[in-house]
């Protein structure tokens, strides 16, 4: 779906191609409009599914919500059929992640007519929200989102090394706490204690599990103070990456022909050292 390919096929000018550009691309005004309307429909349908689970809302507006559900189901069914018709390789789309999510976003409503309870599967619709990132492809967010993604991607090797260290730590800490606190204080098993260690080191601290013995509290204190410093590591990694992305973005690749000095500003037209035209 890169731009060169779409230019090539742009000559076909069939209604299918026009439909495909509207539905799958976000470069044309119609494509943008379609994406925005789809996004709003997805958000509205997610809200409808979400609020149907709230008992008081379901009691008062149950009928209205069921109508809304059927409207969205029919809309998404039409959208799915149009996608299948317009796309160049329908089989590939149907088997792709988004193809399956699109199918599952309306299928449960039909199934619920035969199988009671199948409706709860509608929550899969929430996964359609991932499409929101397509909107990020629009104009002004491209460079910001791209930079962020690049920084996060570059951070991954370092962050994964860090996660291995954290996982090893929480298992060891959890095991020690299981021995120290024991089942009588809520640390009923090692997995439970590891869960406590994760809740503590991530500074979430629900308080559903908390050390009760003096030794346990001392150990927990050490874990918290260490967790404090540990929290700094991923932040440092990501910050350094974003800072680097910032810096590299802003330097011109042009070098002076006279003195061959590089590292000019992107808007420089003359060498800052010798004054020669770049």
């Amino acid at each position: 779906m890169n731009s060169e390919q779409s230019e090539h096929n742009g000559e076909r000018h069939g209604w299918r191609e026009t439909l495909r550009v509207i539905i799958f691309e976000a470069d044309t005004p119609l494509g943008k409009t379609f994406d925005l309307i789809l996004m709003l429909a997805i958000i509205a349908s997610v809200f409808a599914v979400a609020f149907e689970t709230v008992e008081s809302v379901a009691a008062d507006y149950g009928r209205e919500l069921r109508i809304v559900e059927w409207v969205f189901t029919i809309l998404f069914t039409i959208e799915y059929v149009l996608r299948l018709i317009s796309v160049r390789k329908p089989g590939e789309y149907a088997r792709s992640f988004f193809g399956v999510v699109d199918l599952l976003s309306f299928l449960p409503t039909y199934l619920a007519a035969f199988i009671p309870g199948a409706q709860t599967l509608l929550v899969v619709r929430a996964l359609r929200l991932i499409r929101v990132f397509r909107i990020l492809k629009l104009a002004r967010f491209v460079s910001e989102g791209g930079q962020l993604l690049l920084a996060v991607k570059n951070s991954l090797p370092k962050v994964s090394v860090f996660l291995v260290a954290v996982l090893t730590t929480v298992i060891i800490v959890g095991t020690i706490m299981y021995l120290v606190e024991g089942p009588e204080n809520g640390f009923t098993s090692i997995p439970q204690s590891v869960y406590w260690a994760i809740v503590t080191m991530s500074t979430v601290g629900y308080g559903d599990l908390a050390p009760a013995t003096p030794l346990g509290k001392t150990l927990a204190s050490i874990v918290m103070i260490i967790g404090y410093g540990v929290l700094a590591v991923p932040t440092g990694i990501v910050t350094a990456e974003i800072g680097r992305a910032d810096r590299t973005k802003k330097i011109s690749t042009k070098a002076c022909a006279d003195c061959s000095l590089g590292g000019h500003d992107p808007d420089a037209e003359f060498c800052k050292r010798c004054g020669a035209r770049l």
Copy 2:
């Protein structure tokens, strides 16, 4: 209210203009004094309203607090009238955000004489605290506050991309947790579960809702460890911006004599646009 305009009108020299400068500007000694006294009055009135809601304080000092309330109400009424008189466009001020807040900061006390309970609206006074940022316009905080604001402003596009990602994540995570934990463990609805996801990913972790099933705890652990890394992203963005603001501050103050371009590197000897010696 920019400096050029105020210079122009400075010739009017009427008592209204003098009043306006005192009340609305913070550049003259009298203006600074007025701003400081107003700030202290706002803080004191907010404290009075706040502590009146504390039952034990209201029982012991109820009468004193009511006197204080009337004193501030009368003071703020006078201030509001003076603002209306001195400002150049009273209608515009009255409809502006601060105009409405100023009005609402004393009106409820009068209304309470007729409508019981109207007094609780006095908490609107807290909004007057936003005026504290006017004090930041004073001398030494100008550059610090300005830099911070600029850094936060520059971070907004990236941070908003990030917030979209976080919101999508908490909805999907909340939906999954609703299916896994179910109403019997407190996850009574999808909005409730999304609330839990936000409480967890922001590492607040009240503990009013916590996973009870092994699968729920495993999922929660994954969410927390991811949330750990996720916390790093906004920090990285803001830090990079502040760092950049710091660096750009060190830009040369020299401007080109020929084309008057500024913002040269500190080590530049020739203008980067026209090549003239700096």
Copy 3:
């Protein structure tokens, strides 16, 4: 007590001066030893006072702890007297912060003989722990501690601007939550609600107060997501300062005599551009 002054007086060579150097300075071997022993005594005495408040420990080792207390009391009394004798201006020392803390670290034990319960004042001893920072004056921590302190100090103006913004936010948020949740959900007064807002925005999240109404939970969610981004600001400020301190530390102040290029490495002996000896 700066070095020039102590050099001057170094000629006195009296036993008082020797004592003063040992007790108040940390540059001589004896001074270092004294500081270390004092530090250990303070830590031990703090532990003794702290553990005396633990009921089970007090029941089992009450007598031993009382002996330890008297030993430390006598030691600290002797130390105080020696400080008074050796210092150049005893009155000034006695009225200084550390002078008062030193006095209060042993006085309560004597007072307890006449006034029952005066002993609890011994916890003032914990304040003597601040002396631990004197040890930081020793050798290898000087530059690290100095850099950190400088970075924190440079961050103060920006961080205080930020704190004003946070305080204004928590008061406004707390006031709104008081109106939304009300006393029936634990938000009994505005100060109580402001306390909740601080607990939430700092991501501590005890859970002693948590929103119960749907609207309250929605507002709390917004506060948490904002708090998430807000947490990034002080980190960004301090990080930028530490990074700046790092950078400025490492550049030589020497400039090339031939081409006057600055910004050389501290170990550079020749100009990196023209090769002239620096």
Copy 4:
């Protein structure tokens, strides 16, 4: 076990040496395979030990888990014996940290035949997870892990200065809170209050202990707001270090032909030590 030594001994070519290279080194294909299999066995055995402590799992799969335990015990025994045979200095290995951990990872199963309950010591196996960092020695993680470790190591002096400050603060804060809140609100002793201060300043906030008096809540609010800024310091330190490691990576690879000094700036044209053209 440095590379020079292993080259030397590479001439021995005995089966013992081959075994040693497989078991202790990770450079050969066989060595890598051994390390990976061992890692998986350790993870599996840790999971087995962990899930045996879960009551419901133990009730259903108790027999299977006991078989798995014996299989791993025998495997780890064989591994231990092979390590003892192949290593050059068996005594040194047996007394080393990993030697003791390796021994304790199977010994308790045998002991449990004679001493009931000795089996709980099997949790020591979790410590074997530390071996996971050996895998980090493999190919692509070397530089990432090395950089992270270097950054963390370089941060240690500054972070330890910071930790001394935090520890002093939590002791003083804890002591004050003990006096303010007292045993009737759960602050039963000073160590307990210090534990609360650590839980609060690290933003974990279990909620098992929370201030109940207005003064206590005010103090706690101040501690939280300070803790907010304090959290920024270790992050700033680590970030600055990682950023520095990043920057120094960009140093020129050119070395001076005359004095062979490396580490020049990328834009250096002359050696900064001897002035020779690079």
